[in-house]
């Protein structure tokens, strides 16, 4: 048997056309650059829903510790902005409300003071925001935001008119 030898071939360098591929890639990149729109980062603001009248949840448990409830009354101007903020402590002997004007910063400062007074016990504190119906959502979120930043976690927004709750 004779040994077969492979026929010797000259080395051929493969020529891959890169340019059309690069053109295509540039077109793809241009498409993505023009359609690129970074979405703003969204987040959630926690809040409490108002208690339903009657039913199981409305029956107070004898072991329940009564939380300190701060009622913030927010009145709105005709254009939907804040016109007046008042803060009262529920079941307090001194029923005179604290006038905070239309200043959200003053509202936050007052809440911070109240929160410090209860020594930061979240379970003891609750804020009820009584909001006039025409107040814009932007301000409602600002009130909730400032309340949360003051330390309170249980904040419930309700309409100013008790019949609409």
């Amino acid at each position: 048997m004779s040994k077969k030898h492979k026929p010797s071939t000259d080395f051929v360098e493969p020529d891959l056309p890169i340019t059309p591929m690069l053109d295509m890639s540039f077109q793809l990149m241009a498409f993505f650059i023009f359609t690129f729109r970074p979405a703003p980062t969204e987040g959630q603001i926690a809040m409490s829903l108002p208690k339903q009248e009657g039913g199981e949840s409305a029956i107070p448990s004898p072991t329940d510790e009564k939380p300190e409830v701060y009622v913030v009354r927010v009145e709105a101007a005709s254009n939907g902005t804040i016109s007046r903020i008042q803060l009262t402590k529920k079941d307090d002997i001194d029923t005179r409300p604290v006038e905070l004007g239309a200043d959200i910063a003053a509202y936050q400062k007052e809440l911070q003071t109240r929160y410090a007074a209860i020594q930061g016990d979240k379970t003891k504190a609750k804020v009820t925001l009584e909001i006039q119906e025409n107040l814009l959502q932007d301000y409602v979120v600002q009130l909730l935001d400032n309340g949360l930043r003051s330390g309170f976690t249980n904040i419930a927004p309700v309409p100013l008119d008790p019949k609409k709750r």
């Binding site: 993505f32 729109r37 969204e42 603001i45 108002p50 600002q142 609409k164």
Partner: protein, 157 residues
């Protein structure tokens, strides 16, 4: 001095450039906004510092898009096989009826576990110019339908 004999071919190396471009293409593809069926982009959200990102452990998340007029805009996912008029809930009664249907569906999916359905994360994406009474009507409708965990959506500052 004599000129070099024969034409010399000058070829730039395009391979690293191609690599770079493909990497850029990959970046833009990954960052591209995928269509989020439940989120309506026409709604201008308010801003908040205390807004927290979505809980990764939340299982059932329901988005409700509320426009400036206080109407709840339902996405294509929510109203499959229905007409265009079914895309909008105009008042509290309509919201309550719709959410009640969803709540019953959630209870059925949770094998009758009502508590699990109650704990679904309800996220209200209300426009910053919506009056509070309209947003409250949506919240109340959801509460009367059976949901307990309600949150407001805002842009994180």
């Amino acid at each position: 001095m004599s000129a070099p004999s024969g034409p010399d071919k000058c070829e730039p190396n395009l391979v690293p450039m191609l690599d770079m471009v493909l990497q850029l293409v990959m970046f833009f593809m990954v960052c591209a906004n995928f269509v989020m069926e439940q989120v309506n982009e026409t709604i201008q959200l308010p801003e908040a510092i205390a807004a927290k990102p979505l809980d990764p452990n939340a299982t059932n998340i329901i988005f409700l898009n509320v426009n400036a007029a206080g109407e709840v805009l339902l996405s294509g996912l929510d109203v499959q096989g229905k007409g265009k008029d079914d895309n909008v809930l105009r008042n509290q009664v309509q919201v309550q009826q719709y959410m009640k249907r969803r709540f019953d569906e959630d209870v059925r999916r949770a094998n009758g576990d009502k508590d699990k359905a109650k704990k679904s994360s309800l996220i209200i994406r209300a426009d910053k110019t919506t009056p509070f009474e309209k947003v409250y009507a949506v919240m109340k409708g959801c509460q009367l339908a059976g949901y307990e965990n309600c949150q407001l959506r805002a842009i994180r500052r």
